[in-house]
Amino acid sequence: MLRLPAFEFQPARSVDEAVTLLGEHGDDALPVAGGTDLYANMKLGLFAPRVVVGLRSITALRSIRFDPQHGLRIGALCSLDAIVREPAVAEHYPALAQAAAMVGTPEIRNMGTIGGNLCLETRCNYFNQSAEWRKAMGYCLKRDGNLCRVALHSDTCKAINASDTAPVMHAYDARLSLVGPRGERTVNIREFYQNDGAHANVKRADEILTEIALPLPARGTRSSYRKLRLRKAFDFPLLGVAVAVATDAGGSCTQARIVLNAVGSAPLEVEAAGAILLGTHLGEEIAADAAEEVFKAGKPLENANASLLYRKRMLRVIAQRTLEDVIAPLR
């Protein structure tokens, strides 16, 4: 049986305590919330922190507050299941509820947190393997090696951002609060992720993600999330598409964001696709044009459980369908 390596568990009761502990132990420490990602990775020998700082007892980070003026503030420790069940999410941010409901299994959604999902370690067929497997295959750029096994000439790791909620948060223009020893800073989600699988976000080792703020969507906003997967649960996305569009009283599109995940190390907003929709009366044809831009923009690699050719081809299909989700109610 695979065992967790030995580590010291230090529960933090407050954000300050968590930050202090992380600061004290530097690179030797990692924070854990639900543990559905970190502990599995530790069993595989991917991480071996000497100290694990437990965040679960910071009850202050478990609230969801909706304010009709400013929007939604979600504590990073809210479970994915709590988000699925929150009426304000279902009403104003339905794509977030869809995405959270598609993560893993009921057990994982009960334990897994929204903060953890946004900070999900990037994934790759060559990375999420045991120490013995990786030794047999040869190590990779993300861990213990100096070669990306997916793109042999690449300087950067190509592991996939497989968070279901990240592209949705991007489409909703989320702002993330990070707290570290030097206090709090807020970053827009588009600055949070970086397209480098080995350094997938800008959160520093001594910072924790505390809150996600979603502005109130513009009147007439519609949104949806779809993911491609090989079975109906317990599956990371092979491809995900989040769409949020707003229309004015005349039905003309005033805002459009189309964001992909699982095709790179960061969520990818296809601005060209959004631009096509702006100012139009959303219809099937225009959706097809936008889906074509998505098809062109997404560049999956051979590092997930379906071939890159299939994932590439599905970009257009899933994008079209997600766009239709938001267009159909308009007609």
Partner: protein, 784 residues
């Protein structure tokens, strides 16, 4: 059942949908599986496995690992040099590799330590030097002559290539048969390999007593074979070894042969004098494997004008992985059972199993019959279509008859194939839908047959295949002792039902002691769907042995002939005057007073006339065959290629259903497992490694992917089965895969010639970029 015996005929336990006796313990987590065990001073073991698919071992230095505090012992190949294998003809494995490794994940050394983590850490410090050899990773590569371009996987094998076994059998005049045909269908199919994915990872605990006697608890389906192999490998008389099979958390064939960790646990316990536990990780289970062989299948079938099969030739190439395992039997099974379902004028079978540098393949539910069945039922669908016949009616027309012989000389007894075919057709309205649904929707049908136990044992011997002892306590409790291993299929419950029926007592008054070589008579194990039939017959005969004695005593007390005694509802009474009765307890006590300790023995040996007299005739014969038919309805997304199975209707002729609830469970489980094999499961390799040795990436369906399943129990009366029973554990799986394949073909108007039917394959078929597989020249088999 009438009070005071208003009705005394018929059974009160057999046929009742009672909850299973071990159900509560299993759903509440109270059942003690092998890994739940903890003994004082127990050590934990770890196997160090090869990182290379094919390499020579140059040196092993474990001095550094041995110095790690907490490490107690380390062993390598030379410490346990005796070769073993489940079949007498394939004694080709050692506990730890000697000289060579043949697949990534092959055990090379074992380490035991005070805790698992220490063993794991120390394993990384064992220094092994290898000389890497070219690897052989496909059937095609294995068929090539080696000629100095590398080294054979087994240098001592007979041929110049990596062929392990070839078999050639012909029945009837094949040429005349094909000459008689008005149409000949020639197709090639590929069935991808997959694995059992039992929930419980293999686990073994060994404890060597101060008296030198070794006890080994192991999650095994075959405690008897483990007993034999442990004795040989450890060079310890079998009388000093006790094998115990605790409840097994699913096997499906994956726990039917002795493997390294069990023998390593035994070895280290003897060496250290302390209990030792080895529990495999999921990844290690993928390496231990013994799963479904990938098989290339070439089918040539001649059809007469009336649709009957004049001749059929099946050729199979099996990718066996690195060792023999059950492979010789698997090879025969790819040819043996096709004629059990349909009449054929002449039949020929050529099978060829090759070695490759992958984890060894072996038996998985349906053992070797699943792959050709998929191909044959797919081809039959095309034949029916060409002939303009209904797929169900066509199969019924060519179906084998009850109480007949197949073209390959197998004896068929009871046969509910036609009943099963019409049940699934009628339940689904198949004939009204097939070929007539909207594009993207499809319905498919298939049928199959399976064994009720192999007619011959794995190692030749004239002894029974199963034995049982039934003992009656003075308090009325009845205990059955039988060497079976319950791998979740319900064999404990089956034994209790049969004995309760025979003695007329409550099932809950029956205890089952199974799978313990010190306490129980031999049963060969939970494989080839043999347990209900064979252990059931043995237990029944042991119970009747007891019953006869009680009848003598009770008859005397009641003043009637023993034959007039009836046993029911805890009473022994006069069949003709039910008010004249003794309680079972009183009758049992009186019998013990008269004859001494009250216990009976029984055993079962299959009849000898099941098969023909030719080399290879030992694989395929069974005392009876089960029959199944399946209809699947699917919806295919033309844009994504995704297949959604909407409904599976699966009818299974199990003889008499001893417990219909368990039979339905087996049918539902088969539908589920077959669907996974049809649509998503595959043993995939990249750069010599299993690409996805974990249950997140190796896809099996979730409950959300599982459709409505209608389980239909077809009952026939099997004269040789216990209370008329046959089997339900494996047979129902086989028709599910071709039924889904046929439904997909119906939905998209094109046939996909390989499994699994992934979205990518569906799109390729729709695009026209993947058509029929290239027909190869009849295999260049070298008959020896």
């Amino acid at each position: 059942m009438g009070k005071n015996g208003a009705s005394h005929s018929g059974s009160h336990v057999v046929g009742a949908p009672l909850p299973r006796i071990d159900g509560y313990a299993k759903v509440t987590g109270a059942a003690i599986f092998a890994d739940d065990m903890a003994l004082p001073r127990m050590l934990f073991g770890k196997l160090l496995r090869s990182p290379h698919a094919h390499a020579r071992i140059l040196s092993i230095d474990y001095a550094r690992a041995l110095r790690i505090p907490g490490v107690v012992a380390i062993a390598i190949g030379s410490d346990l040099p005796i070769r073993y294998g489940i079949l007498p003809s394939a004694q080709d494995e050692t506990v730890f590799a000697i000289d060579k490794v043949r697949y990534v994940g092959e055990p090379v050394a074992g380490i035991v330590a005070e805790d698992e983590l220490t063993a794991q850490t120390a394993a990384a410090l064992v220094d092994i030097r290898y000389e890497v050899l070219p690897s052989v990773m496909s059937i095609d590569a294995a068929l090539l002559d080696v000629d100095g371009n590398g080294e054979k996987i087994h240098p001592d094998s007979r041929r110049d290539n990596n062929v392990h076994k070839e078999v050639h059998l012909t029945f009837g005049d094949l040429d005349a048969g094909f000459a008689d045909a008005t149409r000949i269908f020639d197709d090639e199919y590929f069935f991808e390999g997959n694995t059992h994915a039992a929930l419980e990872e293999h686990s073994a605990v060994a404890s060597c007593g101060a008296d030198g006697k070794l006890t080994l608890w192991s999650s095994t389906q075959t405690p008897h074979y483990l007993h034999r192999v442990a004795s040989a490998v450890l060079e310890l008389p079998a009388s000093r070894i006790r094998i115990i099979a605790p409840p097994v958390g699913g096997g499906f064939g994956g726990k039917t042969e002795p493997v390294a960790h069990e023998l390593a646990a035994a070895y280290f316990s003897r060496k250290t004098g302390r209990p030792v536990k080895f529990t495999l990780s999921r990844e290690e289970v993928f390496y231990t494997h013994r799963g479904r062989h990938p098989v290339r299948i070439h089918l040539r079938t001649g059809i007469r004008a009336d649709g009957s099969i004049s001749a059929c030739r099946v050729q199979t190439w099996l990718d066996g992985g690195a060792y023999g395992s059950y492979g010789v039997a698997t090879t025969y099974y790819t040819g043996a059972l096709l004629p059990v379902t349909y009449k054929m004028g002449a039949y020929a079978f050529d099978g060829c199993r090759v070695y490759t540098n992958k984890p060894p393949c072996g038996p998985k539910r349906g053992h070797g019959t699943t792959q050709p069945r998929y191909a044959f039922e797919s081809q039959l669908d095309e034949i029916a279509k060409e002939l303009g016949l209904d797929a169900g009616a066509y199969r019924a027309a060519i179906a084998i008859d009850p109480y007949s012989r197949t073209v390959n000389h197998l004896r068929v007894t009871s046969c509910g194939l036609r009943e099963a075919l019409s049940a699934v057709s009628e339940r689904t309205g198949f004939s009204d839908k097939h070929g007539k649904l909207a594009p993207g929707r499809g319905i498919g049908l298939a049928a199959s047959a399976y064994l009720c136990g192999a007619g011959l044992p794995i190692y030749w011997n004239p002894m029974p295949h199963s034995g049982a002892i039934v003992k009656v306590d003075r308090g009325g409790g009845v205990t059955i002792f039988c060497g079976t291993s319950d791998c979740g299929q319900g064999s404990q419950n089956m034994l209790a039902v049969i004995v309760a029926e025979a003695l007329g007592v409550d099932v809950l008054d029956v205890s089952v002691c199974s799978g313990d070589t010190d306490l129980t008579p031999v049963d060969l194990g939970s494989y080839s769907s043999r347990v209900t039939f064979m252990a059931g017959n043995a237990a029944r005969s042991a119970a009747l042995d007891v019953r006869e004695r009680i009848a003598v005593v009770a008859g005397a007390e009641l003043g009637i002939a023993p034959e007039r005694c009836a046993f029911e509802n805890g009473r022994v009474f006069d069949r003709k005057n039910p008010d004249r009765a003794l309680s079972f307890i009183d009758a049992a006590r009186a019998t013990e007073a008269r004859f001494g300790t009250l216990a009976g023995v029984g055993s079962y040996t299959p009849p000898a006339d099941l098969h023909g007299d030719f080399k290879g005739s030992g694989v395929g014969p069974s005392p009876a065959y089960s029959y199944s038919a399946c209809v699947a309805e699917v919806e295919v997304d033309f844009e994504t290629g995704e297949v959604r199975v909407e409904r599976i209707v699966l009818a299974h002729d199990c003889g008499r259903a001893l417990n219909p609830r368990i039979v339905e469970g087996q049918i539902e489980g088969s539908a589920y497992m077959g669907m996974g094999e049809a649509l998503m499961e595959e043993s995939a390799f990249r750069n010599d490694l299993h690409r996805i040795p974990n249950l997140l990436d190796y896809k099996t369906p979730t409950i959300l992917d599982t459709p409505r399943i209608d389980a239909i129990v077809i009952e026939t009366k099997e004269l040789e089965g216990p209370y008329g029973a046959k089997e339900a554990g494996e047979g129902p799986l086989n028709p599910v895969i071709p039924a889904i394949a046929n439904a997909v073909a119906d939905a998209i108007g094109r046939r996909i010639y390989a499994t699994p039917i992934t979205p990518e394959r569906v799109l390729q078929a729709l695009d026209g970029t993947a058509g029929p597989l290239r027909l190869r020249a009849p295999i260049a088999m070298k008959t020896t």
